[in-house]
Subunit: 307 residues, 2 copies
């Protein structure tokens, strides 16, 4: 196999109560990449669609991730990475993570899969880190592994695939405004109130228990953010109004996807997600800010080969 | 029914990664109470065994809990509460919680159970608060409900009964030294480092996922305390040595029970708990501090009527 064409899912991280530890993969939203073995030993990045990204492999998340993997394996071969950039950079639904993960996953496949998907994680994280200035796995892990994942520990890295009810679906609104991940992180600060931490881990525990037992009401009660939402929601125009609309329309929860500006509503069933999406779009439209709307199930597969 | 005799389980709270939100009930350790309807409208506390406790109902956790319940129900009847104090006060395995919970559970039974067990919680918490100076449910909730519980939220109070593998057992060492709960709490401080909070809730998530799926290895990896253990372990002589001994002997995890001084080892199976208990006793004995040793399964029932 000299060429592979793959789908790399967009991802939603944090999920209200799971700052830096929770993420899930989307089924209907993601980007496509084609990776080819090169005749020389160079890494080359090509882009076929979407907003312009750096093509210098040392400045491109896919290039940096690929280089990390190849150096780790001690492999001198070259690869051409062709990216159809369908997730807008800076959207908060894992654009960098999709490219970084796709590069290492695809190259690993072309090399005969010397590493497990779990072993690819640190290389994808290395790539993503140049975009976010942070060493985090809550987008690359669900992108690579699929499903709903928990980063139990960063040192050592320990990623758990969670059980969850198969009827969960999400609506995403991506307002076309810019929030830098690195700046959004500084809003949180280095210390938090113990009472907020206790409230946050109570909800995280409730969410994971609810996901495991298929208790949608518990999932809903647990989707509360005492940490990032109060500090970051003012960066997203119309946030409070959208949240009210989503919850009134029956969403299980509503929050910021990653560090924003995308927001998500978690719903029981695609029909409900689409209904919530229509109402969110109607709520957001009067602000005259361009936006994308996505509705998607949770993708159980992670990155996959496409024809 | 004019009299009820009950067993009120001892409880282990915090459980390394679940500060203020996790607790479990013990099957083989607890205290007995007899509650009788009185001929007058007075609350009376009597003690038949164990270290001396205040008998003034306004200063006794059982009395305060009972008064809170009776005032809530608008009931003018009196009760005699007889306590066989088998859990030593200040042990860190829920002595106050057992008395407070037993009082409200027993009186509620004698009144024909006007309230659900869940509805009794705030009254038991009110009683326990006079001993700990804190409004917390991580001992009274498992005492009343049994099993392994999560306090998802304190406001509103939302207690979740977690799934867990039925082979879990605990060894408890209670060194006879005094640690005041209120003082132990001040050691933690009002603010914590975000990185420690993230590590803590990653582990809490892992523990709940591991309990739900019966993954003992994940349970073991998740029993890590980034919050209280580093600040409190120096209050407990021989702590580091006991922890090493317990883990080397195959315990899934080892930590401080509540705010101490009791410590717990969580094990797979009673046989392992007993084996770990022997090694812990051998490790602690040279310190020449009196101690109690308990081995117990997790009690699934909560408070129960005994003959």
């Amino acid at each position: 196999m000299d060429m592979i064409r793959i789908f790399c899912p967009a991802t939603v991280s944090n999920l209200s109560c799971g700052y830096d530890v929770l993420g899930l993969a989307l089924e209907q939203v993601g980007e496509e990449m084609i990776i080819r073995k090169a005749s020389d030993d160079q890494l080359t990045i090509r882009q076929t669609e979407g907003p312009e990204i750096p093509l210098d492999p040392a400045k491109n998340v896919a290039g940096v991730a690929a280089r990390s993997l190849l150096d780790h394996l001690g492999i001198k071969e070259g690869f051409e990475i062709e990216i159809a950039k369908r997730i807008k950079p800076g959207s908060g639904i894992g654009s960098s993570a999709a490219s970084a993960s796709g590069a290492v996953w695809g190259i690993n496949q072309l090399l005969g899969a010397p590493l497990s998907t779990m072993e690819l994680l640190p290389h994808a994280m290395t790539g993503e880190a140049i975009a976010s200035n942070a060493w985090h796995a809550d987008n690359v892990a669900p992108c690579l592994l699929g499903g709903f994942v928990l980063i139990r520990s960063y040192d050592p890295l320990d990623v758990i695939q969670l059980s969850f009810p198969n009827d969960l679906a999400l609506t995403i609104i991506h307002p076309h405004i810019e929030i830098k991940t690195a700046e959004a992180r500084t809003l949180i600060g280095d210390k938090i109130l113990l009472k907020n931490a206790v409230a946050q881990w109570g909800n995280l525990g409730g969410l994971i228990a609810g996901l495991a037992s298929g208790d949608h009401d518990l999932i809903s009660r647990s989707l509360v953010d005492h940490l990032a939402e109060p500090k970051r929601k003012h960066l997203i125009p119309g946030y409070d109004e959208m949240k009210s609309v989503a919850l009134a329309a029956g969403a299980l929860g509503f929050g910021i996807s990653g560090s924003g500006p995308s927001v998500f509503a978690l719903c029981k069933g695609m029909k409900k997600a689409e209904e919530v999406g229509e109402k969110l779009a109607a709520s957001f439209s009067p602000l005259n800010i361009a936006f994308d709307l996505h509705c998607s199930r949770i993708h159980t597969e992670g990155i996959r080969i496409i024809p």
